[in-house]
Amino acid sequence: MEKFDAIVIGAGPAGSTTAYLLAQGGLNVLMVERGQNPGTKTVSGGLVYSKLVAQIFPNFLEGAPVERAITGHQLVMLDDKASVALDFRDQMAGQQPYNVFSVLRARFDPWLAKQAEQAGASLVNGVTVDSLLVENGRVIGIQAGADQIGADLVVIAEGTRSLLLKQAGLREDFQPHDVSLGLKEVVALPERTIEERFQCAPGTGTAYTLVGHTCGIEGGGFLYTNKASLSVGIVVKIDSLYRNKMQPHQVLDRFKSHPLINRLLEDGEVVEYSAQTVHRGGFHLMSRLYGDGYVVVGSAARLLLNNIMTLRGMDFAILSAEAAARAILEARKGGGYSEAELSVYAANLRKTSIYEDWRTFRETYGLMENKRLFDEYPELACRIMEKLFAPGTQASPKLLSAMWQEMRGHLSMLDLTEDAYHVLRGLIL
């Protein structure tokens, strides 16, 4: 049996980063990718928070094929026809050290894989790993078709579906209320049109996070500017879709039909339709990270941070890869990749800022379960604004009494108090 120091399953951000760091550390690394090329099987909303990533890849800012530096963030609540927004713009985010970039994975992932190859890792494309080879509870390699390939260590970076772990009995079953479906369209538009429409300078762009107008399905929408296209989509809970008998593309169409979105997409041409499952992040949902002879990195271990304002997957993947790679290189010096030796990975991960963010925003998990947040409140916000901005024949109320009037029959004081408490606990205090 052919044998490598390490085999990495999946050449996405988590896999390529681990391969890159292990190859730099002197290991003989094989990356196995099931797509014809890296990035052909992956879908993201498409934002990479870059400050941490640039520390791991020093040439990230010069070399990585990013779309636009995001300098504008919009948090928007939608009802049927109206919208209420919080609009944050900061031109500083359009220059060094930047903050966050939009990316398209078919362009971004090949670059990451190339970094690993240049560091000395080998990449084979178009090979699906069928199973992990396990001997006496230790992962010793992979099976792909008729081929068996051995390794001292296997890095499982197979992404969000995490099939190999399931098959080997190394992870818990996923529950539908903990997983959402992300559905996206890429809509082509000329660069100039994007810059005029979104009021941004060449090379910079805007990210919209939207709540409401998703047919009452828990979740939200996003709209990001790429260089010459927009990424527009929804992330909606799977159990809610089938309980409400809503087909996902209908929810997407409804979302896109809102006048605000409709206007932003005008004259654009849909060039791709894509989908991916998105895990709800959190300590309690994290899969087992390591065992004898293997580590799990990125979304295969359900490493994702969602605090409503930001949804971080790719940078968490890259950061977890770094935490794992350091542990692997240390364990190698110690002479083996036993579960005990690889436990340093979890310790490294706990020290990362993103893990700390997980702890800070742990109360937001409950918020995602609260249906009122996704229909009642966006509507309430829009109706209150309407009262304030549209004086009619009746005397105008002040804000608070406008709110009481609009709440009547829709929301109780108790609901409001409880929800306000959870939002405060989750996001503010």
């Binding site: 994975r105 997983v179 479906l181 159990d239 060039v271 791709e272 989908a275």
Partner: protein, 98 residues
């Protein structure tokens, strides 16, 4: 957009696939599907891969976007009749943007 929304099939037509004509990567236990009351797969699949035709589950696997939603919905909201595997290396959806 002033034009009407694209039909789902028109949308899928925009995507690039390398179709494996010999192997279907989705296995179905028709017995379980027959006894399944909820049939969540008919609703949740964004590519409408699953259709109930003449008392059995028809699978248009060649349209699959490989998101994994059907498996999760079927295991917990259905009868577990669907077994979804990765397509053979190089086959299936080929995202050109991602």
């Amino acid at each position: 957009m002033s034009e009407k929304a694209l039909t789902l099939d028109a949308r899928l037509g925009l995507d690039k696939y390398e179709i494996d004509k010999e192997n279907c990567h989705i296995q179905v236990d028709q017995g379980r599907c027959k006894s399944c009351q909820a049939k969540p797969c008919l609703t949740v699949c964004p590519a409408f891969v699953y259709q109930w035709v003449e008392e059995h589950l028809a699978v248009r696997y060649e349209n699959c976007l490989e998101c994994g939603t059907c498996q999760i919905a079927c295991d917990h909201g259905g009868e577990g009749g669907i077994s979804w595997h990765n397509p053979q290396g190089g086959f299936g959806i080929i995202f050109r943007y991602g």
